[in-house]
Amino acid sequence: MSAVPTDPRTVAEQVTDPELPTLTLADLGVLRDVRTGDDGAVVVEITPTYSGCPAMGVMRADLLRALHEAGFDDVDVRTVLSPAWTSDWISAEGRRKLAAAGIAPPGSAPVRPDGPVPLQLGPPRRTAACPLCGSADTEELSEFGSTACKALRRCRSCREPFEHVKEI
């Protein structure tokens, strides 16, 4: 065990996302809480971005390992499902890092009223500026990309394809 453990929150906040390694779990809004109980046990709460997010197990393993290495032996990583994650929880810092990595950050998440979700039959209305050249003249190639949280777009100015974290 290390001599003097640092704050467990500081340690947990440095753990990066397995699929977007330039962002931390805190940047993504996946890390919901870090607290230390009276008995010294550390409780970490994380929430999945999507129900089928295959990275949850790796996130837990990474958090456990980082905290163990920092000298916290008693760590419990818990899932919280409510309230459901939305892309609005990605921090300003997270958005800056996404853009720097060539991934367009999401716009505002759609408001989900209590009643029925209206059918959206037109082409998806979302827009995103090209993270490579900055042009606003981009088009969506596919609503679904390499991971559940991203869509695929192409810039009409520089012709480069890029990924876009979807609003959800």
């Binding site: 999945p48 899932t79 919280v80 499902l81 409510s82 059918l119 039959l121 559940a148």
Partner: protein
């Protein structure tokens, strides 16, 4: 013990069960979630209802993945893979919820003790213990049928999940609230394909029209409540499927009309079948593929 690598952490966290790809104690989708059943809710009914919703998602996810490598566009294979993954995630949460209230059917008699509940339920229940509807089990004759079925199934599921967000079971409510975001994407994506095919070429129109004729009869038993759903709906836990029928009909009619497809007569209501474990041979065949590896090699690692 401090895990040296992610792999070690995943495989060592719970000893023998670590080789299961999903659902080890370490990777339990409900790890840390309070799974206490609120007062006044029958756990057996709650578990049975979670199996209905979970099996629909599991079976549809399996059907969808059969399109990977066969879809008309590479992007569509990625889309279908993502939609199936969302549904598989919903299935995992719902089967884990059923397991958390002790509803495991005969799966525990067949599965080894180290296998977590959600895997036991997915891999070691026989076909008559599945509670999915015929709509999700039907094989697809072509891609048109795949997207027509997907728009129908996701419209029904979205209508149910929007209401379930206020379920008295907080776990079910949380799963539903999360699922609503995903299902809205699935439904709209499938609906745009129906528009593209219906209002496309002569051939795509013909195929879309045949698909609608094949899928519509599968809606017949979807809106008839089982006894479990009736009791749970009265208790504020479940949604009475009859309550979503008009909304589903309006949405699907809107899609077909925009797609220039004839709207078939709405099928007359029929008693529930799949929800009671009565299935055609297509589900047994699907489960044979889904469950084959786990049953033949219960200790396999991957």
């Amino acid at each position: 013990m401090h895990e040296e690598t992610v792999y070690d952490a995943l495989t060592n966290a719970h000893g023998e069960a670590g080789h299961w790809a999903f659902g080890t104690g370490f990777d339990d989708p409900l790890a840390g979630v309070d799974t206490t059943v609120p007062d006044g809710i029958d756990p057996a009914d709650l578990g049975a209802y979670c199996l209905m919703l979970g099996d629909d998602a599991l079976v549809l996810a399996q059907r969808l993945t059969q399109w990977i490598t066969r879809a008309p566009e590479l992007e569509e294979e990625v889309a279908i893979g993502n939609i199936a993954l969302d549904l598989l995630g919903q299935a995992r949460l719902l089967l884990a919820r059923a397991g958390s209230v002790g509803v495991l059917g005969r799966s525990r008699e067949q599965a080894t003790a180290t296998i977590p509940d959600e895997d036991a339920l997915a891999y070691f229940r026989d076909v008559d213990e599945f509670r999915s509807t015929a709509l999700v089990a039907a094989p697809d004759a072509d891609f048109a049928q795949a997207v027509v079925r997907l728009v129908a199934a996701s419209t029904v599921r979205l209508a149910v999940f929007t209401r379930l967000r206020s379920s008295r079971d907080p776990v079910l409510a949380a799963i539903a609230a999360k699922g609503v975001h995903e299902l809205a994407y699935h439904r709209d994506h499938a609906a745009r394909w129906v528009l593209r095919l219906g209002d496309g070429t002569e051939e795509s129109h013909r195929r879309a029209r045949s698909a609608v004729e094949a899928v519509w009869p599968l809606l017949a038993d979807l809106f008839t409540a089982t006894d479990v759903e009736e009791r749970l709906a009265a208790a504020g836990v479940a949604v009475d499927p009859a309550a979503v029928r008009d909304e589903v009909r309006d949405v699907l009619t809107q899609v077909l009309e925009r797609a220039t497809l004839p709207v078939p007569a709405w099928p007359a209501g029929a008693p529930p079948r799949g929800r009671l474990g009565e299935h055609g041979p297509e589900l047994a065949e699907l489960l044979g593929i889904l469950q084959g590896l786990a049953r033949q090699h219960p200790a396999a690692t991957w």
